[in-house]
């Protein structure tokens, strides 16, 4: 299980990275923590003429408050985010989601940006970002742009990132004091979720309820608190086009999404009041 040959570029600044992407982007893959890409390269499920390793660009490691958001650089490690006081205060939903990401060992090197860019349908980090209606900041030599997280992944393992772009940062709308809840079900501890559900309550009146692992990309229900949680969640979940694979049938995903959706939303509501 050895990767096919690739050329290797290790930029030390973001400008160097963008220049490499401009030159090689069409045939290049960006290597962050490598926890997903490494496996795919080794199994020869992913190929690239050039690997652009962004592990040595210090600017990508920052966590900072920008306007109404917490901005996390693409290379912020999951373990560091989990320990960050800023994340705890300003993005508590991310903290909950991170507790379910992979394992202690993989979080040590795995990154926030890498997870979002990889766009696994079951991944917790893009689910939290979509639920919060956060933003993905993309950079290229052409300039930078901000894409709503809910539009970033178009299908499973695919995003609208252009070949010369890289994920530079994620913007997490600050939801201090809001009720947040996160639940998932997986066969084993640390597995990618079969179904993951994230909930956030804003201003005690609005909620967002995100579902991961059901469709190819996270799906989010926005609504107003009040009314029957079962009916609201049930109506939304019934419309989902669930995946069917050896890990779980579509019926199971729908059934559990409904159950976890109701539980998670209720839990968030209780915490919000």
């Amino acid at each position: 299980m050895k990767p096919a040959s690739f050329a290797y570029i290790r930029p030390e600044t973001q400008d160097e990275a963008l220049s490499a992407l401009a030159e090689h982007g069409d045939d290049a893959l960006v290597l962050a923590g490598g926890l997903s890409l490494g496996a795919m390269l080794n199994m020869r499920l992913a190929f690239a003429e050039t690997i652009i390793d962004i592990n040595r660009i210090p600017a990508l490691n920052r966590i900072e408050r920008v306007d109404e958001s917490l901005r996390t650089g693409a290379m912020v490690r999951q373990a560091d985010a989990l320990k960050s006081a800023d994340v705890s205060e300003a993005a508590p939903l991310l903290r909950l989601g991170l507790q379910n990401v992979g394992h202690y060992q993989t979080r040590s090197r795995g990154t926030l940006g890498g997870s979002v860019a990889h766009a696994d349908p079951s991944a917790e980090i893009p689910l939290c970002l979509a639920t919060l209606d956060g933003v993905v900041e993309l950079a290229s030599q052409r300039g930078s742009r901000r894409v709503p997280a809910r539009e970033f992944a178009d299908t499973a393992l695919s995003t609208i990132r252009e070949p010369d772009e890289m994920v530079e940062a994620l913007h997490w709308p600050i939801h201090t004091g809001a009720g947040v809840a996160f639940q998932e079900i997986a066969q084993r501890h640390g597995d990618f979720a079969i179904v993951a559900v994230a909930a956030v309550i804003r201003n005690e009146t609005e909620f967002s309820l995100g579902f991961g692992g059901v469709e190819g990309v996270p799906r989010v229900l926005d609504g107003m608190v009040g009314g029957s949680v079962e009916e609201t969640v049930g109506a939304f979940v019934d419309e989902l086009d669930a995946m069917d694979d050896p890990r779980a049938s579509a019926e199971y995903r729908i059934g559990v999404a409904r159950h976890l959706g109701v539980q998670t939303l209720r839990q968030a509501q209780e915490l919000a009041t």
Binding site: A79, Y104, Q105, G190
Partner: protein
């Protein structure tokens, strides 16, 4: 300046492993585990799946835990690496290693190196873990021999924690 290597380049990689300076050669695609084992002849790190699940190849790389199968040797240029060979002085076992033996925490020993590296890092991070925390940490490794019970007990005994 960006480092750049062609696909078939034979790249000289300098790194420090367990406090000792090492130099070897690798292609860009050479897995770090292969470099450590077959280039630097540090065979204590084992390879069990090459896709990051089993955890046998876990090492420390510049102060973080890394699956050395999904890290490439060229990424280790100038890095500080920790492997099982560095856990104790030759001919001796450290308290964690002794506890593993006393509690029956290993059988075939193939997964053990990665688990010792993870545990050492984990206990520095969380010196008094609960049993649940130890189990969650261990869930990043697969062992097919022991049922993990001995490992949990060994780690808790060294941590001085307990249920």
């Amino acid at each position: 300046m960006s480092a750049k290597f062609e696909a078939d380049a034979r790249v000289r990689v300098n790194c420090t492993v367990n406090g000792k300076r090492h130099t070897g050669y690798a292609e860009p695609r050479t897995q770090l585990c292969d470099f450590l084992r077959h280039e630097l002849h540090l065979y204590g790190t084992h390879v069990g799946c090459e896709h990051g699940v089993c955890g046998a190849c876990t090492i420390t790389l510049d102060g973080r835990l890394a699956r050395s199968c999904m890290t490439y040797a060229v990424q280790a240029e100038g890095a500080e690496i920790g492997t099982v060979e560095g856990l104790s002085e030759p001919g001796t076992l450290n308290p964690l290693q002794r506890a593993f033996s006393d509690h029956g925490a290993l059988q075939c020993g193939f997964c053990t190196a990665g688990i010792l590296i993870s545990t050492t890092y984990f206990l520095a991070d969380n010196p008094m873990p609960s049993e649940q925390e130890v189990r969650e940490m261990l869930s990043g490794h697969l062992c097919r021999c022991t049922g993990y019970e001995g490992m949990v007990r060994a780690i808790l005994s060294v941590a001085g924690g307990g249920s």
